[in-house]
């Protein structure tokens, strides 16, 4: 099989869509109430060093994904165990995204359609996409990216006309603690979820810069999150915002352009669909890729279908209800610590040490 490549731009687009994927509709945490936009900014700043660390891991071993890196750094046995951790994380993330997806659709519109059907369709599209290689995913993403960007910019501009600036005051009414609390939530979901990309960016074209992808992806994706959060607070205001599971959807439903052009909320759903598809595909890709590496097979594609079906099966019963799903967001921030912070840190330190110690195997640095 010829080596597949994605361009820097495609990688960037993937990352942006990945970041705004589910957060777009689920909304960022409301711990900080009308200051949650501050949380977003803080979260971006918090995530910056972490994401640079991820980029460093990618950069140290060009052309090798995280599983290969782990394998190389920790040896066979330990490497496999650690890889398994990552595979589980990617898999679990995929399950969560799929479940979010189907919950959202079945809540807003397809109330009677069984959720497993929605999940199946999503997963089949994901399998189809990744089966065509990561290149197809990259091309598709950068095509969709433009559409998504246009929709989001349009929505934000329209939301601006409905904004009530009194909703933002007073700033820091509840103190600084909730802001930090909220910032950490946003850090773990979705910003640091980009750890997944350590398995994707190894497909970057030689010469492309992984730092650039991470850096720009964070700023653009975070910027979009910020714009959406600002729009939600400005249009809806507290306390109504805190009563809603899907604030962006409600926000957009309030936008009117004249008497005829109204009810743009379907656009939010469309954007979510597109971003969610990208996110699911990336998770599928990572899971299958990791599994293939653990079992020493070269073609991850053959494993896509069973992994996807397993995703659906788990998504069916992972939460008993929607409330449980949203409650779990609070657990998730702690659950994700080892995958998002501890393991990458460990890998990075060991990798640097290994490279320093064995000059022979070192990769030339630029």
């Amino acid at each position: 099989m010829p080596k597949e490549f994605i361009t820097e731009r495609q990688g960037l687009n993937m990352m942006v869509l990945f970041i705004i994927g589910s957060t777009l509709v689920v909304g960022v945490t409301d711990a900080a109430k009308q200051d949650s936009w501050l949380s977003v900014i803080l979260a971006i700043i918090m995530a910056l060093p972490m994401l640079m660390l991820y980029a460093r891991i990618v950069h140290l071993f060009p052309g090798q994904d995280i599983f290969m890196v782990i394998h190389r750094v920790f040896g066979r046995i330990v490497g496999k165990v650690l890889s398994l951790f990552f595979v589980w994380y990617a898999f679990h993330l995929g399950v969560l995204v799929i479940r979010n997806f189907s919950e959202f659709l079945s809540e807003i519109s397809l109330t009677e359609t069984p959720q497993y059907l929605i999940q199946l369709v999503v997963v089949i599209l994901g399998v189809w996409m990744v089966k065509g290689s990561i290149e197809v995913l990259g091309r598709w993403t950068s095509f969709v990216f433009n559409i998504v960007l246009v929709i989001i910019i349009g929505i934000c501009l329209m939301a601006f006309t409905e904004t009530n600036f009194a909703n933002f005051t007073p700033m820091l009414y509840g103190g600084f603690r909730p802001v930090i609390d909220g910032a950490y939530s946003i850090f773990s979901f979705p910003l640091a979820e980009t750890i997944i990309f350590t398995a994707v960016l190894s497909f970057l074209k030689p010469g492309a810069n992984s730092y650039k992808v991470y850096n720009r992806g964070l700023w653009i994706g975070g910027g979009i999150l910020l714009a959406i959060t600002l729009g939600n607070i400005g249009v809806l205001g507290y306390p109504f915002l805190s009563t809603q599971y899907y604030p962006s959807y409600i926000t957009v439903s309030l936008i009117d352009l004249g008497t005829f052009f109204r009810r743009f909320e379907i656009l939010v759903a469309v954007v979510f669909l597109l971003c969610g598809l990208v996110k699911v595909s990336i998770c599928l890709f990572c899971t299958a890729n990791g599994l293939a590496k653990i079992f020493n097979t070269h073609d991850y594609r053959v494993l896509l279908a069973p992994v996807a079906l397993l995703n659906v099966s788990l998504a069916l019963f992972i939460y008993p209800s929607m409330q449980a799903m949203f409650e779990w967001v609070n657990v998730y921030r702690y659950y994700a610590i080892p995958f998002q912070i501890l393991l990458p840190l460990l890998i990075w330190i060991c990798a640097e040490a290994k490279l320093r110690l064995s000059k022979t195997g070192a990769i030339e640095k630029d």
Binding site: T7, R9, Q10, L105, S109, L110, T113, L117, I118, V121, V122, L125, W128, M129, G132, V136, R139, W140, S142, F143, V144, N146, T259, F260, R262, R263, I266, A269, V270, L273, L274, L277
Partner: protein, 504 residues
């Protein structure tokens, strides 16, 4: 081929025997004429001209073959054989070969050449006397343009090549001949411009052509289905055109053309998705108008495949999106309509498609009355009788009209429309988006001779978009498309008309 007959020993020096052999081969074919004649000065010199009537030029045979042989006083010397004398001194023809291969002789006769035998020679002369009946060069019906050259390909390969040659007078323009089809013996010609066409694509094309084993090739599509990528796809990964100017344009972009004998259609490859939306008229019109019409075409394509699906999704799933006045009027018009919307869409789609097909097949006089009966009477009556609702009729009617803009896509758009409709009926607008995503995944997956099918569209950067969604001015298109003409990217100098200068 004909192995049983081409045994060496069957061909003798005796005219009678040879003729008998040919008569045996062409048994029951009364179009083959065996014309015997002698030299008027030496009646021992007996000749026979064998040709297939109808595809030969009688004048050539009479004036240039029979007349010189009969009228000239042929002097024979020992040194020179009679057949060489004939070839070099007597017969007036620009294309004359000597052969003793039975295969060649048979082919020559079938191709409209004249075979001259003479008693006492074990060789025959093949004299070019082809005169196939050809159609006059006319404007192609299916690819009309309001501006630009009016000529279209005919069924004759050489005339077609001549038309291409006239447009590109360069020695770099190469024509490679090949014969395909064991029975039809169709000549095909691979045209390309050396230095522009990608060698790898050329090699790939040759290997694919090598793999074809068909007995008859009557149209370009026979080959297309063999050589195209993604053979199960709805989309064409190999283009076709009836216009020499289009072929010349594609050759200049570094593409390769395949011209077949017997069909007025040339194949161009690689073929990309955007080419559906480029017409030759675009390049002859002002670039503003061309860009606008191209954008309209693109939108029409999206509309033609998705209008019924979106309408169905909105009216059957997402009534909340429809503004109240529209909702009420749609609802009003659907009162007492017996069919569900999806069935309505399917039936109406079928009706319109059959009407379109009837319009293609029927003679042109009936066509107008067909449209009157179909569109006016049927449509009006169906709405009045509360058989179908007026909005659905409008949507489907518009869909079909918009579909007429893409004769090359009509089949694909019909099927796509159906698939999207099914998904819209399953999950509303979300199903539609899913199906559309699937469509794009498919489009991004396929390639045409190694070139990604959606090539310039997948990275929407301006350099590559000059000739896709819009048609940039000629002086601004300095480069060839990157993905094809990578060998020699600079198309032209900008004619001293930089955009920056223009804008000043």
């Amino acid at each position: 081929m004909y192995k049983g007959f081409s045994e060496e020993n069957n061909w003798t020096e005796s005219l009678q025997q040879n003729e008998a052999l040919l008569r045996e081969l062409f048994k029951n074919d009364d179009t083959i004429i065996y014309r015997h004649f002698e030299n008027q000065f030496n009646s021992d010199l007996k000749f026979a001209a064998i040709f297939s009537s109808g595809i030969v030029n009688n004048e050539i045979i009479n004036e240039n073959i029979i007349l010189p042989i009969v009228a000239n006083n042929i002097r024979l010397t020992d040194k020179v054989k009679l057949i060489d004398v004939l070839k070099n001194q007597i017969i007036i023809s620009n294309d004359i070969t000597k052969t003793r291969e039975l295969d060649n002789i048979i082919q020559a006769i079938l191709n409209g050449n004249t075979v001259l035998l003479h008693d006492g020679a074990s060789e025959a002369l093949i004299i070019n006397s082809k005169d196939w009946p050809t159609r006059v060069i006319s404007e192609p019906e299916n690819e009309k343009g309001s501006l630009g050259p009016r000529e279209g390909f005919t069924e004759s390969l050489l005339i077609n090549l001549a038309m291409v040659k006239r447009k590109l007078k360069t020695h770099e323009l190469k024509f490679k001949f090949r014969v395909l089809g064991s029975r039809s013996q169709t000549k095909i010609c691979i045209c390309y411009i050396e230095g522009l066409a990608n060698e790898a694509i050329l090699a790939e094309l040759e290997t694919r052509l090598d793999k074809i084993h068909l007995d008859g090739i009557l149209d370009a599509n026979y080959i297309v289905e063999f050589i195209k990528d993604a053979p199960l796809s709805l989309f064409k990964t190999v283009g076709n055109t009836e216009r020499p100017d289009v072929v010349a344009g594609k050759l200049l972009e570094g593409r390769i053309a395949l011209i077949l004998d017997g069909t007025p259609v040339a194949i161009t490859l690689p073929y990309l998705f955007v080419e559906y939306f480029q017409t030759n008229d675009d390049y002859y019109n002002s670039f503003f108008i061309a860009s606008i019409t191209r954008i309209i075409r693109l939108f029409s394509f999206i509309l033609t495949i998705s209008a019924p699906a979106v309408f169905l999704a909105l009216t059957a799933f997402h009534q909340e999106i429809i503004p109240e006045p529209l909702l009420l009027s749609i609802s009003l018009s659907r009162q007492r309509v017996p069919f569900p919307t999806i069935i309505e869409a399917l039936i109406l789609g079928l009706v319109f498609e059959s009407m379109r097909e009837a319009g293609v097949r029927a003679s042109s006089n009936i066509g107008t009355s067909l449209s009157i009966v179909g569109a006016l009477i049927l449509g009006q009556a169906a709405v009045d009788a509360h058989f179908f609702s007026a909005p659905m009729l409008i949507i489907v009617g518009f869909t079909v009209v918009a579909g007429l803009m893409f004769p090359k896509l009509s089949g694909a758009s019909m099927i796509l429309r159906l698939i999207l409709l099914f998904f819209a009926a399953l999950m509303g607008i979300y199903g539609y988006i899913f199906a559309l995503s699937g469509l794009f995944i498919h489009l991004f997956q396929i390639r045409s001779f190694g070139v990604p099918y959606m090539s310039p569209l997948n990275s929407l950067n301006f350099q590559d978009l000059k000739d896709t969604i819009i048609r940039a001015p000629w002086w601004y298109m300095e480069y060839r498309p990157k993905f094809i003409g990578a060998l020699n990217r600079i198309r032209q100098s900008n004619g001293d008309r930089k955009l920056e200068k223009k804008l000043r």
